[in-house]
């Protein structure tokens, strides 16, 4: 009985969590592309103007970023200026929650058929690498190990701390700017 009563709240909280995580990730994608050379190198191969979306089917929370060229991303929020080129779609909000709460790695989510790719698969592979790199930077190592297939050996604490600080600062600034606008 109690479970039935609190279930809508649980669902609402889960949805809110996914929504907030997408907002953070979208801004963090923009930030990491300004901070990290490896990410820039990966993103550089994407066509300029490519619109990438990560969303929950059928019409749930989403994040949209654009490759503005030279390996840099721009976060567009939830609305795209034109049709999306590459979309990674969670089949259900529960699946997005599993990944965004680091209970399931992104690669595992693909292997478990939780997500679909609509668009060029090779670009999706690149974007997954970028997302993994971002998670390795911004999450504590213990949590990052749950989020990515393999925590990069080459990422040492000083580099991680400095990059994470810069990314978080940029994310916070972006949040403030959005709120002001």
């Amino acid at each position: 009985m109690l479970l039935k009563r609190i279930q809508p709240m649980v669902f609402q909280t889960r949805r809110l969590y996914v929504d907030i995580m997408f907002q953070v990730m979208g801004r963090a994608l923009q930030a990491v592309s300004e901070v990290d050379e490896t990410v820039q190198n990966d993103a550089r191969a994407l066509p300029e103007g490519l619109l990438f979306e990560m969303m929950v089917m059928p019409d749930g929370p989403r994040l949209i970023v654009e490759h503005t060229g030279n390996g840099h991303f721009h976060y567009h929020g939830e609305s795209a200026p034109r049709p999306i080129d590459l979309s990674i779609q969670f089949k259900h909000i529960a699946h997005a929650f599993l990944v965004l709460s680091f209970q399931e790695k992104t690669a595992e989510a693909f292997a478990h058929d939780r997500m679909l790719v609509d668009g060029d698969l090779s670009y999706a592979v690149r974007m997954t690498r970028v997302l993994n790199r971002l998670e390795a930077f911004i999450l504590p190592k213990l949590i990052a190990k749950r989020a990515v297939k393999e925590y990069p050996d080459s990422l040492h604490l000083p580099e991680k701390l400095i990059s994470a600080a810069r990314i978080y600062l940029k994310v916070a600034t972006n949040f403030v700017e959005t709120a002001r606008a």
């Binding site: 478990h112 679909l116 790719v117 609509d118 090779s122 999706a124 592979v125 690149r126 690498r129």
Partner: protein
């Protein structure tokens, strides 16, 4: 590796064994099809492989209304459009693809056009675009390796844009796969070897990569066992009908396994090598398999060790300490490759192919990193890792 969730789907009716071709008329009638079209290539026709298919149908009063026998090795959008035109003109109502990967993929793509309408196959590319079942579609494989008869994917080249279009939908799966040993009896030794190693790789990767699941495991292990037990016998005695059937079944079983659990780095490297150096897919698989297994070893020690039972049999498995079984599995695959090299010079290294330049290795590594199958490899792969594997596979 615990598997918390999986999906498995294979609605293809497998019709396998002696006189399997003779079941085609009955199966077509069951789907209310009376005017089938055959899609094949010149090589298949020249080898006389169409004759038993046509005879089987005609004997039952079923006429093959049209035969298209000009499918190229890399089928294109214009070929698909042309065949769809003939299908409509001849008022056909079913497709029988007879051949290897290209003829089968062409059959799948033609089926999209003749079922959905239009002339532009490109607009159906991607995943999940198709929403309705297609026309009756049968596949008769003439190689034992690709497993295309049980996969929901087709790849067609868009020659205008110079890109490969992928089509993914469960509606692409044929209604029936007809596995008849007569169709692979005349395969030349090097193709027999390369395609069987393709099946071996499908099964091995399906069993060791991230999306493995209990159902695909069952198909994968059975496929590994069949290839291990029959390949060398067939190489020594190409007219061994039972051995041929075992290899053909192994290919289908490996196809069912990998289409439900995906493949990994061997395929990423193989796809890149095929695109850059134009090496046959099966050869690439045979070539890279042990090197990638060595790279993945610590992530796949348990399932790879388990494969020893199917590669070498119970005596060797039980005589090998559990801690050494994974390495023994790699040795068994190397041993099999050495035997194939002895029998038909199937290359074991990139250098032995004579078609790859050392200067191309970096390009192959870069392209492999963008391949979709790398996502399912159990171990993360960096550019340097890929380069190192290629260096080992060089000579």
């Amino acid at each position: 590796m615990s598997q918390k969730y999986y999906e498995f789907f294979c609605p293809v009716k497998v019709i396998a064994g002696k006189a399997a071709l003779e079941h085609i008329p009955y199966e077509l009638t069951g789907l209310a099809a009376k005017r089938p079209m055959i899609i094949t290539d010149k090589g298949v026709r020249a080898a006389g492989l169409l004759d038993p298919v046509i005879a089987a149908c005609e004997e039952s009063g079923l006429d093959i209304v049209s035969i298209y026998d000009d499918v190229p090795p890399d089928s294109s959008t214009s070929v698909v459009r042309d065949i769809a035109g003939i299908y409509r003109q001849e008022k056909c109502d079913a497709i029988i693809a007879v051949g290897g990967g290209s003829a089968i993929d062409t059959g799948k793509a033609v089926n999209i056009l003749v079922s959905e309408g239009g002339d532009d196959i490109a607009k159906y590319s991607g995943a999940g675009v198709l929403k309705h079942p297609l026309k009756p579609f049968f596949v008769v494989p003439t190689t034992a390796g690709t497993g295309s008869e049980v996969t929901a994917v087709a790849v067609i080249t868009d020659e205008k844009k110079g890109v490969k279009l992928a089509f993914t939908s469960s509606f692409l799966l044929p209604n029936a796969a007809i596995i008849d040993p007569r169709m692979t009896l005349t395969l030349p030794p090097h193709i027999t070897a390369a395609t069987a190693m393709d099946a071996m790789t499908h099964a091995t990767e399906a069993f060791t990569c991230m999306a493995k699941n209990p159902l695909s495991d069952a198909y994968a292990t059975a496929a590994v066992k069949k290839v291990s037990q029959s390949l060398l016998d067939v190489m020594d005695n190409p007219k061994d009908t039972n051995g041929r059937l075992e290899l053909a079944q192994a290919s289908t079983m490996a196809g069912i396994a990998f289409s439900n659990s995906m493949v990994g780095l061997v395929h990423s490297l193989g796809h890149a090598t095929g695109a850059i150096c134009h090496l046959p897919h099966g050869l690439c698989m045979s070539l890279y398999l042990p090197y990638v297994l060595e790279f993945n070893l610590e992530s796949i020690r348990e399932p790879l060790g388990e494969l020893l039972l199917y590669l070498e049999g119970p005596e060797v498995y039980s005589a090998t300490p559990a801690s050494r079984r994974a390495e023994a599995s790699i040795s068994a695959i190397r041993k099999l490759r050495d035997q194939l090299y002895k029998r038909c010079q199937l290359p074991r290294t990139l250098k032995e192919t004579g078609k790859v330049l050392e200067s191309q290795l970096d390009h192959i590594a870069e392209q492999a990193l963008d391949d979709g199958s790398i996502m399912f490899n159990p171990k993360e792969v960096t550019l340097e890792d890929a380069r190192e594997i290629l260096r080992r596979a060089w000579a």
